[in-house]
C-alpha cells in the first residue's frame, strides 16, 4: 500500500514540475498533495492528513488555480525552459539526491521511544494550548500573528495601486532594454 501511495505522489509531483500546461500542472500538484495526505493516513496521523487536505488541497492549490486564472490564458503551453539549464539542474539534482540518499541509507536510525501517545484531535488541541510541559501556546500565538500579518500584507500588496509614473518609467525601461 505504501509503495502505491508513494509512487503516486512522486509521479504526480514529477508531472507537476514537467507539465507544459500550467493548469494541468496545478491539478497534478493537487494529486501530489493528496498523495502526501495518503502517506499521513498510512502512518495513522489522521489529523495531520485532514489538515493537509483542508489547507493544501482545499486552500493553497485552489488559491494557485485562482491566480492562474487571473494571470494566464489557461491551456496555453508555457515557454519551454532552456535546455542547458534543464540538463544542468537535472544533473545537479540527481547528484544531490544520490548524495543525500546515500547518507540516509548508510545511517542507522535508532528508535528512542515507542509511540505511546494516542494521536487524537483532543490530545493535539490540549498540548497545543497548554502552558506547561510540551505546551505550544507561544508558537501558536506567533503563528496566529503571522497569519494575520500575512493576511494584511496580502491585502496591502494586492490592492496597492501602482503609481502611474512608476508604470510609465518601467515601460520606458522595458522598451529601452
Amino acid at each position: 500500500m505504501f509503495f502505491l501511495i508513494a509512487a503516486f505522489t512522486l509521479i504526480t509531483a514529477l508531472m507537476s514540475v514537467t507539465e507544459k500546461k500550467i493548469f494541468r500542472a496545478a491539478i497534478y500538484l493537487l494529486f501530489s498533495m493528496m498523495g502526501v495526505a495518503g502517506i499521513y493516513f498510512w502512518l495513522n496521523y489522521d489529523f495531520i492528513a485532514a489538515v493537509q487536505i483542508i489547507v493544501y488541497v482545499g486552500g493553497i492549490v485552489v488559491l494557485i488555480i485562482f491566480s492562474i486564472f487571473l494571470t494566464q490564458q489557461v491551456g496555453r503551453a508555457m515557454e519551454k525552459p532552456k535546455r542547458l539549464r534543464v540538463s544542468f539542474s537535472l544533473l545537479a539534482v540527481l547528484f544531490a539526491f544520490a548524495f543525500c540518499f546515500i547518507i540516509i541509507w548508510q545511517n542507522e536510525f535508532t528508535n528512542v521511544e515507542e509511540s505511546s501517545v494516542e494521536l487524537t484531535a483532543n490530545t493535539i488541541g490540549e498540548q497545543l494550548l497548554s502552558l506547561t510541559g510540551h505546551g505550544y501556546i507561544l508558537p501558536f500565538e506567533v503563528v496566529s500573528m503571522l497569519l494575520l500579518a500575512a493576511m494584511v500584507g496580502c491585502i496591502v500588496i494586492a490592492l496597492k495601486q501602482v503609481p502611474v509614473t512608476v508604470l510609465k518609467k518601467e515601460k520606458q525601461n522595458s522598451t529601452l532594454s
Binding site: S16, V17, T18, V36, F101, V112, E114, L146, I155, S174
Partner: protein, 103 residues
Amino acid sequence: MEVGLTHLLFVSTALFFIGVFGFLTRRNMITMLMSIELILNSVNINFIAFNKYLYGGNLDGVFFTLFLIAIAAAEAAVAIAIIINLYRSHSSIDIENADEMKF
C-alpha cells in the same frame, strides 16, 4: 518488505529534489511557487516520519508540521499577492522578466 523510516525518507528526499528541479527549471512564477509547495511538503513528511519512528512519545513533529502548514498557507498567500502585483506592473509573470534587482 517491512516499510521503515528509510523508505519514508526516500519519498521525502525525492519529493524535495523534484521540487528543487521544478524550482530551477520553471520560468513561470506560479509554477515555481508550486515547486516550493512540494519542497515544503517533503519537509512535512520528514517531520512526521521522524516523529513516528524515532520519537513516538512526543508530538513535536506533529506540531511542527501543523505550524509549517500554517506558514505555508501564509507564504502562498503572500507570494500570490506579489505575483499578481508583479503581473499588473509587468504584464508577465515570467521570472526572466523580473530581473530589475541587479547591479
